[in-house]
């Protein structure tokens, strides 16, 4: 995947490279720049400040341990770090819901509204800097499929939670996700081809 890197990306890459050679100041600088953004990503999934902060800690430890394996030709630095945070948040949500029920289920939508809309420098790193063909492509999908993908990706809804939300079967959700991904990919590839031709 060809990546067009801006100055902010370059800065994050430099910090990740310094983490790879065990420069703790670099990890702190990363935390200061993107910690609040990543915390919001995690919170939307786990819906608990306490758990979100524990997951954020785990995510930064993983970033520290795996910084040497970051590849700028495969992913932008914020995407790589945010992905680590999301997967750890999903793991934690699964674990908590299975064993202790500490995390509210995604059905408690009032909690979803409780995200502060702080205008902070972290936002400079986020989606507004990316081309957004995905938004057009999602818009072209069936409404249920589009919402299903967004609720899963942003709020960590499981297949079962989506099925309950949409009053349908889990297999139907699975089928929506698969059909949705195929159409999204086709749409994205067409747009990328259009852009480069």
């Amino acid at each position: 995947m060809n990546q067009e890197l801006n100055a902010r990306d370059e800065e994050l890459i430099t910090l990740l490279s310094r983490c790879a050679i065990r420069d703790q100041k670099a990890l702190k600088a990363l935390f200061e720049r993107v910690g609040a953004y990543m915390n919001a990503v995690i919170y939307r999934i786990v819906l608990s400040d306490e758990v979100a902060n524990e997951v954020l800690q785990d995510a930064f430890l993983q970033i520290w341990q795996n910084a040497a394996s970051y590849r700028s030709d495969l992913a932008k630095p914020l995407t790589w770090m945010t992905s680590i945070a999301r997967y750890r948040a999903l793991d934690r949500k699964d674990k908590e819901q299975r064993y202790s029920q500490n995390i509210p289920t995604a059905k408690d939508e009032s909690l979803l509204e409780n995200i502060e809309d702080e205008r902070t420098p972290e936002k400079e790193f986020s989606s507004k800097h990316l081309d957004q063909p995905i938004l057009d492509c999602l818009g072209a999908l069936n409404d249920n499929i589009s919402r299903c993908i967004q609720m899963a990706y942003i709020h960590g809804y499981s297949r079962e939670e989506l099925a309950e939300k949409f009053n349908t079967k889990t297999n139907t959700v699975k089928s929506w996700l698969h059909r949705g991904s195929e159409r999204l990919k086709e749409c994205l590839q067409n747009k990328m081809q259009w852009t480069t031709s």
Partner: protein, 236 residues
Amino acid sequence: MSSEDANIAFEYVAGTLTAEERREFENRMTDNPELTREVAFWEQHLMAIQPDEARAPQSDTWQRIETAITPNATQQTETTGFSWSTLWQWASPTVAAMVLLFAVIGYNPMQTTAPNTDYIAVLTDTTGKARLTALTTADDKRMWLKWESDYAINPETNVQLWAISKRDGQTRPLGVFSSTDVAQVELDQTRWRLVTDAEYLLLTEEEEGGSAIDEPSEVILAKGFCVRFSSAERDS
């Protein structure tokens, strides 16, 4: 890629796989670059739908991270197995070999244009005999290796090259070699930075595949200070 793999890759990124399915998929990804690329594709595109929001972490979160990553100073000394006092026994022969090398390749400190080589280390054994010369080139991130002709690696072992950081004194691996036929090594960004940050390079004898614990063995074959030739900052 099968459509089933493509679907699982999408669900992995979307977050709808169960924890077990996620673990299994992550294991499969480690030796499957096609899956890795598919996941990277979705991660990059779906990132654009993350809301532009921030939520300040709790005040002690960074402190807890810092505590977790700060190594135990005593343990560090034990694991690196290196002390500055023992370094001096290597210093003199290395400098002598460096002087010889400069003479051979015609190094001129008054030169105004940057030479192709920007980092060099001549690794010598305890007798002062050069075993390996490592050069990094200015034009591409590559390390050129010149093994001495009479030097042969024990066929039952490998040798491993290490960078010792001048910043924190830590020892980190640069490459494992089973023969002296290897004349050059591609340096990725991380290894390039290890070279530019290195105080000196170390060559050790290791089991096949290199040190399993990512620490040099006690069988040190050669050492050499890392010297910068050009003044151009390439790594900033």
